[in-house]
Amino acid sequence: MNTIILNGSPKGKSSKSNSQIFAEHFVKEMHDPCEIKSIAGNDPKELARYVAGFDAIIIILPLYIHAMPGLVMKFIEKLEPAPSEGKKMGFVLQAGFMETAQHKYVQPYFRRLAEQLNYYYLGTVSKGEAAGIYMYPKMFKKVLKMVSELGAAYESTQAFDDEIVKKLSKPYKLSQFQLRLLKVVDIVGLSNIGWHKVLKQNNAYEQRLDRPFL
């Protein structure tokens, strides 16, 4: 099975692209690693023609406003239905929000899209709380290892492993305990330490609540 991995991050191959990091880990433990290509920086029409030559397409992408980034939709608009049966399409979504229920608005769309394009739908793998991966890769060692296992399993079975998918997608919803904890963390200001550090580095802390367009 000839599979292409598409990185749907607008950051493309940048080392700051979490989707690129996911893609590299997805192929890391494969015997014969798949090609990875970025949607950003490529002509959507030409890219759509190129990927039509593969047996399977896996798009690894960040969640932007509950769905794919605009440039990924511009690429999707150029996809043509597969002329033959048996081609496969799957998605790996990574997002900043912790709970993967945030992904439920686009997941049924991805299923529908694959079916309408005459592709077998491999599924959508969801991972929340992933925004910090490029900044703190060591903290995400376990997650990235699971992504590599997902890729290795895909190479041997041409499917997304249910157990790994389940583990990555936790939590689906925030539990009452998590919510209470998050609210406390919020009240004492711990949740914004990271944001404020970056804002201060950029001399933008005092402007953080600005309303420039009133």
Partner: protein, 160 residues
């Protein structure tokens, strides 16, 4: 009452205080730089939507006339949604039992979203409607109406 229109249809006759004509304007894609949150809070690194931002957050009502592309919003309209993130703060709140962006402004317009009803099945239409409802819920609009276009303007005036 200030009304703005965001349309993907040429020659849209709806009168409005401001119109963003997506049939003519190709919006620059969000590049994920986070300038709007980390460097110049509230301002996007690109300036092509500055006028839109002002009119959107000072409007009472925003009316969208949307095409449907491969069963979803077009890439151009999706890019507009992505580029609306500067209107919210980087912080997350949990008061509704789930993660939500915190508003940057006191109020956001009510939404009327009309779409070209080219869906082959009710399930396909529902995915689209649920998505649009969710986008503007996340964007803190209080009233969100999502309806097929045919019932609103006769003739459609579609551009395909």
């Amino acid at each position: 009452m200030k009304t703005i229109v965001i349309t993907e249809y040429e020659n849209n006759s709806a009168s409005a205080d401001y119109t963003l004509d997506l049939a003519k304007a190709e919006i620059k894609d969000c590049i994920g730089c986070w300038s709007c949150w980390w460097k110049t809070p509230g301002r996007c690194a690109f300036k092509d939507l500055d006028e839109f931002y002002h009119h959107y957050i000072t409007a009472d009502r925003a009316i969208f006339f949307s095409q449907v592309s491969k069963g979803f919003v077009s890439g151009n309209l999706k890019t507009l949604f992505d580029r609306m993130i500067p209107l919210y703060l980087p912080y997350t709140e949990y008061s509704t039992g789930e993660s939500m962006h915190v508003p940057r402004y006191d109020r956001y317009p009510d939404i009327e979203f009309y779409y070209q009803d080219s869906f082959e099945t009710p399930a396909g239409r529902q995915i689209f409607v649920d998505y649009i409802q969710r986008v503007f819920y996340q964007f803190h609009s209080k009233s969100i109406v999502v309806e097929p276009l045919e019932e609103t303007i006769s003739g459609g005036g579609g551009r395909n």
